[in-house]
Symmetry: C2
């Protein structure tokens, strides 16, 4: 059933993501219950609103007074997170509406994704009701969602609260992929804004999320993980209508037939033909990538970097080997390792000892001991009018320990004029803080390998070509 | 010049990698000097042999009595690490021979890699002399080398001593790539045995390393990072002669023309035509991969897993989404997601609740709360005669916290019969120790993303096809 999405629905959806009060219906003190983990997520984050555990059998949960029902809560509830058994959910939705709840995160599973047709039937009933009262419901069969810029972790995974706040909103059809991406982001000092598990998409589907996120000032990049769509046209139309307003990128699995059965099972939709998706994405301005790594790397690059005006790249490296790996990838993906202007070569000449190369890719190794030389080279290359984008690579060595943090001002200054991506690699604990600070300042997107940083730059260029065609 | 490599040379090469005594010629107490970092590497590792800093201007360096010359050292020296200016090196090589030094790591740069033809000339003189006295020299223009199984860090990078000991020997033409790979291995709980920076390859080239490593009981996988070869035929002949004895894998950069200049500069050889390399590798049983990630992932898989006897893969996952990403990669690379036998389906049926899928890929999510069920499913699938290889995926969630360590015995038991690769992902600090323990026991190769674990399995299969054709 196509949902009716009126203004009220979208107003409610904004409140859902920025609630002042949250009730957990099915909250629990028992670590074996999801209601325990949801409470932990909500209370251990830095959430500034009020939290109301609802459980008729408890007086208090995790230090919060518990209430026997939504109605019993002493103030109005913006968001209800539901972790009760499937058969109780319809009743709870009635109560939500009665109590003027604005939005629901429905974690409960056992609907459209199960073999039993009763599951789909039950979900249809929920959808009908929720639509009739303009109540947006994330889920069912979801881990929940996180809005880091609101310090809201409405999921059963407390660890999501440790994510660095950013401007990338991840909307995903799979809880497993969401966890993979979020944990990888966490381990890689990548930043996310919202992570939304759509689950079975009762009435909040990709299309509704795009409608909302295009208007959301805290979202600068929309990243969709898709397995299959019930109403592909709806998503494509929405995306086309907001063409170029904000980058929309997609990771889509389900090329292999064997995957389809799995998708049917866990989110209740067929994966569909990959070729059709490929064309539809392109026509509607959704930029597709093929792996979780590319998806994360590109999302970060788009949220920090300006788009390259051309395909001419400069590669600056602390060691020659990694720059060769980058040049190979640039070559494979249509980027040019451009020749510098005479002026740039002369400037670099002033910073490097007599026997070093002054051409692109620049081996800055001989300047390691002198951070201001490295800075000078980076600046000269950024100023070169023949250069559209810059990739900087540096593997840790004792001699270059301080180089990274000292690059911060020049990278920050230039990041809005030409895209700069880096691959700074060191054992954990050496550069982490410096990189985190620079990421925080939007001076840096640091990508773990030369091949991935080259690929991310190629994606930036191809994205900009797609969007400007 | 083709080096004469007699028995003496190879005997000396074994001593070079397992010295009882090491002299650092050009040792220093000044952190701005490479001689300082080499001393730090040697002394902060757990090296059991004797260390002799040589520096005529010092009495003592890092608590070790310093000597004015090699000759002045109170006992015979097996390995000399040289960090003196280029013009002094020939003289030092004479002294090494006089003092019965068995092998040299020549860190000094300024030879064949520089623009000035004097550099190449000087290197030729060193080679002539070293060959005439069967003295193996790693370098010049190298970071050095590490033999973790001998607790020997003869490099200017003390951090290499933190690497986990394993059976993969990495032989690399680039210091930067060596650092990238080693740090990535460190951060990813991957294990390495030796990391050898060949630098300008005075008389120890890839071919000599293969000769040595095929006989080296501590090396089970030989991983070559190649930019260009002066005598490709020599390497190919050696590799062909030891066909299948130990896996030899290669990462080769230099596809892009722009990279060639960089390679010429830093290791003194042209990158050459990629297509020719591609064919030559295949004909000589060297398995090529294309990225640093694949190179590391496959090296680890080959050092732990038995080779798959066929291409029929089972995918077991804690969440459905990541298994779809794996199935896509398997599909792209010619692996089959096989149907289980009836017996296996029935066994799985006993472990999973009524509504879960029992087919490949198996979503084990519903069994999370019960580690013994997960173990039972894994065992049933490993026992299925239709299954040649198994991939297990699990994203952390509170409910599966203990699942990983409890899989250890079954994985350890089966790893020698069928290859098992995993992708267990959690925020740092949650599963690290459990994964480290399992990696230590050779029960596990844990690869960071579903796509990479699928690709590594495909490489295992394609490697086994290449080697058995």
């Amino acid at each position: 059933m196509e949902a009716i999405k009126d203004n009220q629905f979208f107003q409610n959806l904004s409140v859902l993501f920025k609630p002042r009060s949250v009730a957990v219906i099915g909250a629990s003190s028992n670590p074996d219950k999801l209601g325990y983990h949801v409470m932990k997520s909500l209370t251990q984050g830095n959430f500034q609103g009020r939290i109301f555990p609802v459980n008729p059998g408890s007086e208090e949960i995790m230090g919060f007074p518990a209430f026997s029902s939504l109605e019993a809560c002493p103030e109005s509830i913006d968001l209800a997170v539901i972790v009760l058994p499937a058969k109780m959910v319809l009743d709870i939705l009635y109560q939500c509406h009665q109590s003027l709840v604005k939005g629901v995160v429905l974690i409960t599973a056992g609907f459209k994704e199960i073999d039993d047709p009763l599951g789909a039937e039950q979900q249809e009933k929920l959808a009908e009701y929720a639509n009739s009262v303009s109540l947006p419901v994330i889920g069912p069969n979801t881990f929940g969602m996180v809005n880091l810029n609101w310090d809201l972790n409405a999921s059963f995974t407390p660890e999501f609260s440790s994510l660095k706040k950013g401007r990338v909103t991840l909307v995903s059809q799979s809880g497993g992929i969401s966890h993979l991406l979020a944990f990888t982001a966490l381990n890689n000092i990548y930043r996310l804004g919202k992570v939304v598990g759509l689950g079975n998409r009762l009435n909040v589907d990709f299309a509704q999320m795009i409608d909302y996120l295009v208007e959301d000032p805290e979202t600068e990049v929309i990243a969709l993980y898709i397995e299959g769509l019930d109403r592909p046209r709806e998503l494509m139309d929405k995306a086309k209508r907001v063409w170029g307003e904000k980058p929309i990128i997609a990771l889509k699995t389900g090329r292999a037939d064997s995957g389809n059965q799995s998708s049917m099972s866990h989110t209740g939709s067929m994966a569909g033909s990959d070729v059709i998706y490929q064309g539809a994405f392109r026509q509607s301005g959704i930029y597709r990538v093929n792996t979780t790594e590319e998806f994360l790397d590109l999302s970060q690059a788009l949220s920090v970097c300006t788009l390259p005006k051309g395909h001419r790249v400069a590669v600056l490296s602390g060691q020659a080997g990694p720059s060769m790996a980058v040049c190979d990838i640039c070559y494979d993906h249509g980027l040019e390792i451009v020749s510098f202007t005479q002026k740039t070569r002369e400037t670099i000449h002033g910073y490097l000892p007599p026997l070093a190369l002054r051409e692109n890719p620049v081996d800055m190794g001989p300047a390691w001991y002198n951070s201001s030389s490295v800075r000078g080279i980076v600046r000269a290359v950024l100023e070169d009018e023949k250069v559209d984008a810059v990739i900087i690579l540096m593997m840790f060595a004792s001699a270059n320990r301080v180089t990274i943090p000292e690059l911060s001002p020049v990278l920050f200054e230039w990041q809005q004029k030409k895209p700069v991506l880096s691959c700074f690699v060191a054992p954990h604990g050496i550069w982490d803080q410096a990189i985190e600070d620079m990421v925080e300042q939007k001076a840096l997107v640091n990508i773990p390998t030369p091949e991935r940083v080259g690929k991310a730059m190629a994606h930036l260029w191809h994205y900009s070509q797609m969007i400007n065609r």
